[in-house]
């Protein structure tokens, strides 16, 4: 697959990441303190970060999907991001919410926080990898147990 990729694929992804990270720094979401102030109701401005981002993406996705076209670099047909709504979506939201409220960090903001020089955020990055790893191992085992049980 990597061989067939358009030469501009990685440069565009890099440019998108640069804009994304710059925006996170502008919004100060890279500061866990700002997120915690939002969650305790002391400064609700952070709502405009998700609101502004979702509005831009929403308009873009709406217009692109309506055009019926495909993406120039991949030939992929434009489509909305639709995940299946199941118990995991709610359970994951609960676990993520408690973690976000405890630490004031989420994945994108944590990566960008490294860029503003916030080295203690490495604790959070290490934690996120640990959590993602534990989740992957546990769910693989549970799926294996299901298959074994079904075979009985």
């Amino acid at each position: 697959m990597a061989d067939e990729r358009h030469p501009l694929f990685l440069p565009v992804v890099l440019a998108g990441g640069l804009l994304f990270g710059f925006g996170l720094a502008v919004s100060r979401m890279t500061h866990p303190e700002v997120v915690l102030d939002f969650l305790t109701g002391e400064d609700l401005g952070l709502a405009f970060v998700m609101g502004g981002g979702a509005a831009v993406v929403g308009l873009t996705v709406w217009a692109a999907t309506r055009s019926g076209r495909s993406a120039p670099l991949t030939g992929r047909r434009y489509a909305r991001r639709l995940k299946t709504l199941d118990r995991n979506v709610v359970g994951g939201g609960v676990v993520f919410g408690v973690g976000w409220g405890l630490s004031g960090i989420c994945p994108g903001a944590a990566y960008a926080s490294l860029g503003v020089g916030n080295w203690p955020i490495l604790w959070a990055v290490a934690g996120m990898f640990l959590g993602a790893y534990a989740q992957g191992v546990l769910r693989t085992r549970l799926a294996g147990a299901d298959v074994a049980a079904a075979g009985d």
């Binding site: 990685l10 992804v13 998108g16 990441g17 640069l18 804009l19 994304f20 710059f22 925006g23 720094a25 919004s27 890279t30 500061h31 303190e33 969650l39 400064d43 401005g45 405009f48 502004g52 979702a54 509005a55 831009v56 993406v57 873009t60 996705v61 993406a71 434009y78 639709l82 995940k83 709504l85 709610v90 994951g92 676990v95 919410g97 408690v98 973690g99 976000w100 409220g101 405890l102 630490s103 004031g104 989420c106 994945p107 994108g108 990566y111 960008a112 860029g115 503003v116 020089g117 916030n118 080295w119 290490a126 996120m128 640990l130 959590g131 993602a132 989740q135 191992v137 769910r139 693989t140």
Partner: protein
């Protein structure tokens, strides 16, 4: 009233949000991929682990590394231009580590994070994303307030 709810105004927050949206929109328009930030955790684990759940992200793992390095670089560019030296959090390491573990597990179980569900999914008006965002907002606000009430600062 507005000054009480928004002591730092809303302009920098909205501007940051629009830039985040533009970064996501650029990648989407060029590639058709609506990229969130948390898949990077599992796709990167596929470099060092054989767990099947991570292996399915192998095809995207290299560009997700590039996307994440871009985020670090974009924030660094802002810091170099507008910040007096590095900014360092005062939030205690145990909160960052413990919260990080839950964030890593919860975002992957729940199929997305603040960007995947919060921006891409909400922008797509996807019911799963709206439910996920409502859930994590309520839990996060409750948790932060309980932690603050227990006298943990910062």
């Amino acid at each position: 009233m507005a000054a009480e709810l928004f002591p730092n105004g809303v302009a920098s927050y909205a501007a940051g949000g629009v830039l985040i949206g533009l970064g996501t929109a650029l990648v989407f328009l060029a590639t058709g991929v609506l990229a969130g930030a948390s898949t990077f955790l599992e796709s990167t684990l596929s470099y060092v682990s054989d767990v099947p759940r991570f292996a399915r992200y192998r095809a995207s793992r290299d560009w997700r590394v590039v996307f994440t390095l871009g985020m670090v670089g974009g924030a660094a560019a802002y810091a170099l231009a507008f910040q007096d030296g590095p900014w360092v959090t005062a939030v205690q390491p145990w909160r960052l580590l413990g919260g990080g573990v839950l964030v890593g597990a919860g975002t992957r179980l729940g199929k997305g994070c603040t960007s995947g569900h919060g921006i891409c999914g909400v922008g797509s008006l996807a019911d799963a994303s709206l439910v996920n965002v409502a859930t994590f907002l309520v839990l996060a606000a409750g948790t932060a307030q309980v932690v603050a009430a227990l006298g943990v600062t910062p």
